[in-house]
Amino acid sequence: MSITENQLHADPSIEAHELHPQRSAVIETEQQRDHAKTIYEKSKPGRRAFVAPELDVPKHELPAKFRRAEAPKLPEIAEPEIVRHYNRLSKRNFDLDSGFYPLGSCTMKHNPKLHERVAALPGHARLHPLTNPKRAQGALELMHSLQVALGEIAGLPHVSLQPSAGSHGELAGVLVTRAYHEDRGDFRTKILTPDTAHGTNPATVTMGGYEVVKVGTNADGGVDIEDLRAKADDQVACLMLTNPNTLGVFDANIEEIAKIVHGVGATLYYDGANLNAVMGKTRPGDMGFDIVHYNLHKTFTQPHGGGGPGAGPIAVSDRIEPYITKPQVVKLEDGTFDLDFDRPKSIGRLRGFQGNFGVFVRSYAYILSLGGDGLQEASELAVLNANYLLAKLRELGVTDLLPPAYDRLCMHEFVLSGAPMKRELGLKTLDLAKRLLDHNFHPPTVYFPLLVEEALLIEPTETETKETLDAFAEAMAEILREGAEDPEIARNAPYGTPVRRLDEAGAAKRPVIRQPL
C-alpha cells in the first residue's frame, strides 16, 4: 500500500522529512516506503515457478512412517513475482557500489567486477569438492598459488586456506596453539587479549577452552608493556594482537612485545583484520608473530554479501606448521598438485571439504591484478586516505567536537570520540550516524572500540577518491552545524530512509524471528 497524500500530511515524521530534505541514503520513490510484505504474504495456493523434470522411472514411495504428512509452508509464487519481490527488497538496502561505506575494521573496498565472472566459470562453479585431485589440478594450482602469495605477504611460509571467516581463522589459531603446547607436554590455561581487541578474540578464546586475560592500553594507544609483563607467565598460551590495532595505531613496541611473549614460551597471534594497512611495508612474520589470520573478504576484497561469505586462512611459522588443518594443498616434485591428508600432528579439519574456494578465486584474481607493487600501493593509499580524511575533519573543525582518540598520525583507520559532542550539543554518536544516512553515507562503525567513549571508527579504504572524502567531511561538518542550531533534527534522524529508527529493545523483548504461517 502506498502512502496517500492525506497520510503524508497527517504523518509528522514525513513532515519532518519535508522540513529537512537531504539526499537520502536509499529511498528514491514513495513506493519504497510501502508497508513491507514478506514473500509468504504474496503466496497463493496453486502458483509455482518450478516445473519438475518428467518422471522417467517407476514411481517409488517411501514407507509411511518416514513420510511427512504436511508439506512445509513454503511460498507458492511464480517467477515474475519472485523477481519483483527480491528486486524491491534490494532497493531497501544501501550498498558499497552505491556509495561510501567507511565502516571501520571491515575494509569496505571496491569489489572488482571481473571477480564475479571468473568465479562463475563452470570449471570453478560446477567443480565437485570430492573430485579426484588429478582432475582438479586447476583448482589446486590456484589454491597453492594463493597460499604462496599470502605466505609472502605475511612473512610466514605455511598457509592453511580452510577456515571460513576471520573468527574461524582465530579459532584455528587458538587450536594450533593448544596443539603446539600440548605436543610438548605443556598445558597452559590463559590467553591474553588487549582491551582494544575485536570481540571475536575473547569469544574465540572461550570457545578454544582458555581463560581470557585482558591487557591494558598505554597513553599512545598501544599495548601497556608493564601490564603485559605482569600478566605474561608460564600459564599464558598466546597473546592475540591486532597491529595496527582497532584504534588505528601501529604499536611501535611490537619487537618488545614479541620478546616478552616468546620469553614465557607463548605464541604471538596476529588478527589480520587490519592487514590492509601494512602490505609490502612490514610483515607479521617479521614482527615476530607465529600465527596470522587473513580476512580475504576485507584485505583481498570479496563482496561482503550482506554478512558473508568470507574466508579466514591462517599462516604460521615453521614450529607451528605440523599442527595446521588438513587436508593441505601441496605441490609435488613432478609439478602437479595434491591434497595431503597424511599430517599426523594436524589439529584435523574445521569444516567440510577444502574451504570457501569461490572466495579463493576472487582473492587470487585480486592479487594477480594488483601484483606485489599494487598491493603495497593499496596499503599506502589506504593510510593516505585515512590521514587525509582526519586532516580534512580537523580543517573543518569537526574534531573540535569529535576529537581523535589519539591525536597523532593514524594508519588505515582512526577513532573519533563523540564525548564532547554529546556534552555540548546533546548529540550522541548514534544520532550523528543516523543523520549521516540522510546524507547518503554509510556511517562508520559506532561504539567500538569499547574503551573510547562514544566512539566512531572510520576506515575509508584506498579505493575512495579525494572528492568522496571531502564530501563526507563536509557532511560531518554540516551535521554538527545543524546540531548546534537544532539538535532535535539529528536526534530524530533519519528521515529519508525506507524506515526510520526501529524499536530494537521491543524486538529483543518479544522476539518475532519467523513469520507465523
Binding site: 570430492l130 569444516r351 579505493t463 526501529l502
Partner: protein, 437 residues
C-alpha cells in the same frame, strides 16, 4: 596507478600537504626500522584485466567439473540445477556488496531476507528457531556441540558412525579444549543403534538424516532414548519435503549443509550452514538473528535481534565467536525455496526418491555389486563393490561417468539429482558393469 584506486599525483601532493607531511613514507613512521620489509613483495607485478581473466580461465579449464562428465558425486554436496533467477538476483549490488546490517534503516532488504530465510528453515525443520546462517554443514555440527556442552554442562558426545565423517572430524577438532569426549554409536545395516536411554553425562547425540550412507534414520525411535541429552540431527534440507520434520520427532537442534538449496558446488564453498533449534535454546543460538519490529512511525521493519548473545557485545561470554557468516548464500537458499515452492519441494523430493531407488535396483543387479544396507533412501545410497572402489571410480571416470565417491576400499556412495536422468543412470550401470567384469 592501479585501476581500482584514483589518487593522481596532484591528489597525493594536496593530501600530503593537508596532512602536513612530506611523503607517504612519513605516514609509516611508527613502524620500527627493525620490522620494515625494506624490499618489494616477491609477487609478480600487476596484470591488466584481460590477462587476469585469461589466467583464471586457463586454470578453470584444467578442472573436470560436472559440466564435463556425468557425475554421481555427492557425499555432502550435490550437483542440483541452480535456477537462473538466483544468478540474476544475487548479482544485484544491493545484495552483493553491503556488509552485515548494522544500520537497519538502510538494510531492510537484507534484514527481511534473513527473516524470510529463518521462516523457511523453521518450516523445513519443524523447529521454531533459526538463525540467519552459519559457515557450512560440518562446522554447524560443531557449533551445535558447543551449544549442547554449554547448555547442559555435560561432557560426553555420542556420535553415530554414520554421521558424515567431515562432521565428526570437525566436532573432534573444534572441541579439543572443551574437556569433552566422543563415543561412537554403532551402525547396523545402515541404521544407528540406540536401545536404552543414554547416561546423564551425555551432552548431545549426533545423527545424520539421511545419514552418510544414504539411509533414512528412524529419528522418532532414537529420540525416545535421548534422556537429558540434546538430540542433534544433521539433515539434508532438500529431503525435508518428503521426510518427517526433525522437530516433530523430538529433535532439539537441526543443522546442516545448505548447498543443495540453490548454491553452486564451487569446489566445496562458499555455501551456507543452517542452524535451527527448539524454543528453549533461543538465547544460546550462535550467529545473527533477524527479528520483526516497528519504526517510530509504526512502520513494519526488521532488525538484528538478541545481539546480547553475540561476540561484539558479550565478548568472552558470547554464545559463539561467529561474525561474518554466509548471508549471500542464505539468500540463494531462500530464493531457491521460493522457486521450488511448497509443492515443488515435495515433487522434487519424490522424483529423487523414485530415481534413487531405480538407480539402486539397477546397479544392485550387476554382478559384483551388493547393497551396503537395504534401508529406504532418498537421494543417495551406498554399495559394496567386489573390486577396489577407487579403481572403479578411475575406470568409470575415464569413460565420462563419475560413478560417485569411494568412501572405503569397497564402498561407493552414489548420489542422484534431478539433473541425472534414467538414461544417465542406465549409462552408469553399463560402465560399472564393465568395470566390475
Amino acid at each position: 596507478m592501479s585501476r581500482y584506486t584514483s589518487a593522481t599525483e596532484t591528489d597525493r601532493q594536496e593530501m600530503l600537504a593537508a596532512i602536513g607531511v612530506e611523503s607517504i613514507d612519513d605516514l609509516f613512521a611508527d613502524v620500527p626500522e627493525g620490522v620494515r620489509l625494506g624490499r618489494p613483495l616477491d609477487i609478480a607485478p600487476g596484470k591488466p584485466e584481460q590477462e587476469v581473466f585469461a589466467r583464471l580461465r586457463d586454470l578453470a579449464a584444467k578442472n573436470v567439473s560436472a559440466e564435463d562428465e556425468i557425475s554421481f558425486l555427492g557425499a555432502g554436496m550435490y550437483d542440483h540445477y541452480v535456477p537462473a533467477l538466483i544468478d540474476s538476483i544475487l548479482s544485484r549490488s544491493e545484495f552483493l556488496t553491503p556488509y552485515t546490517p548494522y544500520q537497519p534503516e538502510i538494510s531492510q532488504g537484507g534484514l527481511q531476507v534473513m527473516f524470510e530465510y529463518q521462516t523457511a528453515i523453521s518450516e523445513l525443520t519443524g523447529l521454531p528457531v533459526s538463525n540467519a546462517s552459519v559457515y557450512e554443514g560440518p562446522s554447524a555440527v560443531a557449533a551445535a556441540g558447543w551449544l549442547a556442552h554449554t547448555h547442559t554442562k555435560k561432557t560426553k558426545f555420542l556420535v553415530s558412525e554414520s554421521l558424515h565423517p567431515h562432521s565428526l572430524e570437525t566436532l573432534a577438532t573444534t572441541s579439543a579444549g572443551w574437556g569433552t569426549t566422543i563415543e561412537m554409536l554403532p551402525v547396523v545395516n545402515g541404521l544407528t543403534q540406540l536401545d536404552e536411554v543414554v547416561g546423564d553425562d551425555v551432552a548431545a547425540i549426533f545423527v545424520g538424516q539421511p545419514n552418510f550412507h544414504g539411509a533414512i534414520e528412524d529419528i522418532a525411535a532414537l529420540s525416545q532414548f535421548k534422556g537429558s541429552a540434546l538430540l542433534v540431527v544433521q539433515a539434508d534440507p532438500l529431503t525435508l519435503g518428503v521426510l518427517r520434520s526433525p522437530g516433530e520427532d523430538g529433535v532439539d537442534i537441526c543443522v546442516g549443509e545448505g548447498q543443495t538449496l540453490g548454491n553452486r558446488l564451487d569446489f566445496g564453498g562458499p555455501s551456507f550452514g543452517f542452524f535451527a533449534a527448539s524454543q528453549a535454546l533461543l538465547r544460546r543460538m550462535p550467529g545473527r538473528i533477524a527479528g520483526e519490529t516497528t519504526d517510530v512511525d509504526g512502520r513494519r521493519g526488521f532488525v538484528l535481534t538478541l545481539q546480547t548473545r553475540e561476540q561484539h557485545i558479550r565478548r568472552e561470554k558470547a554464545t559463539s565467536n561467529i561474525c561474518t557468516a554466509q548471508a549471500l548464500n542464505a539468500l540463494a537458499g531462500v530464493i531457491y525455496l521460493s522457486w521450488l515452492g511448497r509443492e515443488g519441494l515435495v515433487e522434487l523430493g519424490e522424483l529423487l526418491v523414485s530415481r534413487t531407488h531405480y538407480a539402486r535396483e539397477t546397479l544392485a543387479a550387476i554382478d559384483g555389486v551388493e547393497l551396503w544396507h537395504d534401508q529406504p533412501v532418498v537421494r543417495e545410497f551406498a554399495l559394496k563393490l567386489s573390486k577396489n572402489a577407487h579403481e572403479v571410480v578411475e575406470f568409470c571416470s575415464a569413460r565420462g561417468v563419475n560413478p560417485g565417491f569411494a568412501f572405503d576400499d569397497n564402498g561407493l556412495l552414489v548420489a542422484i539429482t534431478e539433473q541425472r536422468s534414467k538414461a544417465d543412470i542406465d549409462r552408469l550401470a553399463e560402465v560399472l558393469k564393465e568395470a566390475l567384469a
